[in-house]
Amino acid sequence: MSASPDFSRNFTDPRALKSFILSTITVGCAILACIPLFSVLAMLILRGGRRFSLELFTSLPPTAFDSGGGFGNAIVGTVVMVGIASLIAVPFGIIGAIYLAEFGPHTRIATVARFCAKTMTGIPSILAGVFAYSVVVMVTGTYSAVAGGIALSLLMLPTVMLTAEEAIQMVPAIMREAAVGMGCTPTQAMWKVVLPKAMPGIITGVMLAIARAAGETAPLLFTALFSDYWMFQGGAGDLMEPTASLAVLIYNFSGMPFENQIQLAWAASLVLVLMVFTLNILSRLIGQRKK
């Protein structure tokens, strides 16, 4: 006769002990990983928040020994360049995605294009800048907002395309059947039924891409360069002039030995992170609403 097994928990058992230790390590890792985020946020609020005022948005960057100043032109520049990038990447990405998801999902070119887009997500952002430099700056002979926008569009394109493809694929087949069964041409079915249904997902992707592009620095360093002046003083021709951006301003000021500039770098970081987080959270809300 064997004794009946003991089912009660035993914490001195080596197996339980090992589990406990490993769990503790994992919890530790997770907590540690959150620290940088909170540290960054705390610094932004403490150091950036101190300088937060209306002047930041209405003034130009100060020169070396000036006090005060702001980065209004850099905000305009960032918005303009992200706008140019969106004008290129959003239509390109969505129309391409329609082919990948709907009109030719199993064709060879779709497989290749999908692979290209996935590969493009991994291309270093600085190389987008190098490309735009050789295609735009070397040809036009000047740093410009257009060159910066083109560089950013390369980074947005794969995100827009791949999320839009996924969003279109998620549209239930019965919706598609209903449209086709009514005698829609494939294009009509797309525009009248599938795209409206996929729109929240597509917008989510676009906003994530915009959030990413707004924070990019490397591709702008030598395509848009920087400018200490307001855009559009000389009309739309300013699109072909060097242009300021928040990200490049942070980079430039971070290396300066002046407290005023460093404070402005923190304040600009706060503004940039607020912009990026707002876009992220909005896209998340839109993404949730579709479910």
């Binding site: 339980a16 090992k18 589990s19 490993l22 769990s23 994992t26 919890v27 890792c29 997770a30 990983a33 940088p36 985020l37 960054v40 610094m43 932004l44 129309i95 391409g96 082919y99 009109f103 030719g104 070119i109 294009a113 290209c116 887009a117 590969t119 493009m120 991994g122 291309i123 270093p124 952002s125 600085i126 190389l127 190098v130 050789s134 070397m138 394109l157 041409t185 494939p186 294009t187 009509q188 797309m190 924070g215 990019e216 620095t217 490397a218 030598f222 360069l225 990200a247 942070i250 980079y251 971070s254 290396g255 460093i262 923190w266 970081s269 940039l272 990026v276 987080f277 992220n280 998340r284």
Partner: protein, 325 residues
């Protein structure tokens, strides 16, 4: 087909069936053709990027040949260029980042997928990790300069003082250097590794989980012996893609690595990477130097492209075999 009348031709009840108009058909053809064009354009764009960057670099490639990759000088004044320290710095910093970001990323993926926490807490933690990825790299650079470097300097000094005989700690940290750069880099690739590893762990079929627990394995025995091996392909792909991201990351390194042309094992000495080299030298480069930098860009492009393709293929392959099980 012609519109036809039904027998009951009362007002309002005749058939309104019409074939699509010529315009509708034309629009359909054009639009479908357009989408096909854009699919092709994606491929052509990649080819054009390679062709353009490569084409601009060809003069420098002819001039310097392979010695560009093996020489350690960078002296525009004397026209001597070599990027061996940058290649080394790129690989070294990325490997260090992969080590840190990889361990943390996989640990977090396990933590988030294996029901350690109530559902709401998991969602919050997931969002935090995703926000970590959303912070622009230039902000991490700023944070690194003013928060991280002062913070780790005492630790670095201690390590140098007591373990200075190890090549890793052979110099003291005087400010920017490999260690803070790699640390920030690991924070930046952590979300990538965590997200893709989570997908791989979440894709484990429920029956495998049930089998593991049904055998009486503890949670950690199941994770270590069954779940991680099952998801290993996807996790490996996540690490490769994280490595690819680290290789190409620019700003945090340009701001933190110290931009010094030297080959070193020491974690605390300044170094340089390919991306940082491009970022720092491009804005003020002469026409001639630009072409040399293009050569460096080609090297970076080839390295990251190969790593990314490898990661993509691994993930695709494991997802396929995972799906057929």
């Amino acid at each position: 087909m012609a519109a036809r009348k039904t027998d009951q031709a009362q007002p309002g009840s005749t058939s309104a069936c019409r074939p699509p108009t010529t315009l509708d058909t034309l629009v359909d053809r054009t639009f479908r053709g357009l989408t096909l064009c854009f699919a092709w354009l994606t491929l052509l764009l990649i080819i054009y990027i390679f062709w353009r960057i490569g084409g601009t670099a060809i003069p420098a490639m002819h001039k310097f040949g392979i010695s560009f990759l093996t020489s350690t000088d960078w002296d525009p004044g004397q026209g001597r260029f070599g990027i061996l320290p940058e290649i080394w710095g790129t690989l070294y910093s990325s490997l260090l980042a992969l080590f840190g970001g990889g361990i943390f990323g996989v640990a977090i993926a396990v933590f988030l997928t294996q029901d350690f926490l109530p559902h709401n807490v998991t969602v919050v933690l997931k969002s935090i990790i995703e926000l970590l990825a959303a912070i622009p790299s230039v902000v991490y650079g700023l944070w690194g300069i003013f928060v991280l470097i002062p913070l780790i300097r005492p630790l670095a000094d201690w390590l140098h003082l007591h373990l200075g005989w190890l090549p890793f700690f052979s110099t003291s940290l005087s400010g920017p250097g490999l260690f803070p750069a790699a640390l920030v880099l690991s924070i930046m690739i952590l979300p990538t590794v965590a997200a893709i590893s989570q997908d791989a762990l979440a894709a484990i079929p429920a029956k495998i989980r049930e089998a593991a627990f049904g055998m009486g394995a503890t949670r950690w025995e199941s994770i270590l012996r069954v779940f991680l091996p099952t998801a290993s392909g996807g996790i490996f792909g996540a690490l490769v893609l994280g490595f690819g991201r680290a290789l190409g990351e620019t700003m945090a390194l340009a701001m933190l690595v110290g931009n010094s042309n030297q080959l070193t094992l020491s974690l605390f000495s300044p170094a340089n990477t390919l991306a940082a080299l491009l970022a720092l030298n491009f804005p003020e480069a002469s026409d001639y130097e630009v072409r040399v930098l293009m050569y460096a860009a080609v090297v970076l492009l080839v390295i990251t492209f190969l790593v990314n393709v490898a990661g993509q293929l691994i993930i695709t392959a494991t997802l396929r075999t995972g799906g057929s099980k």
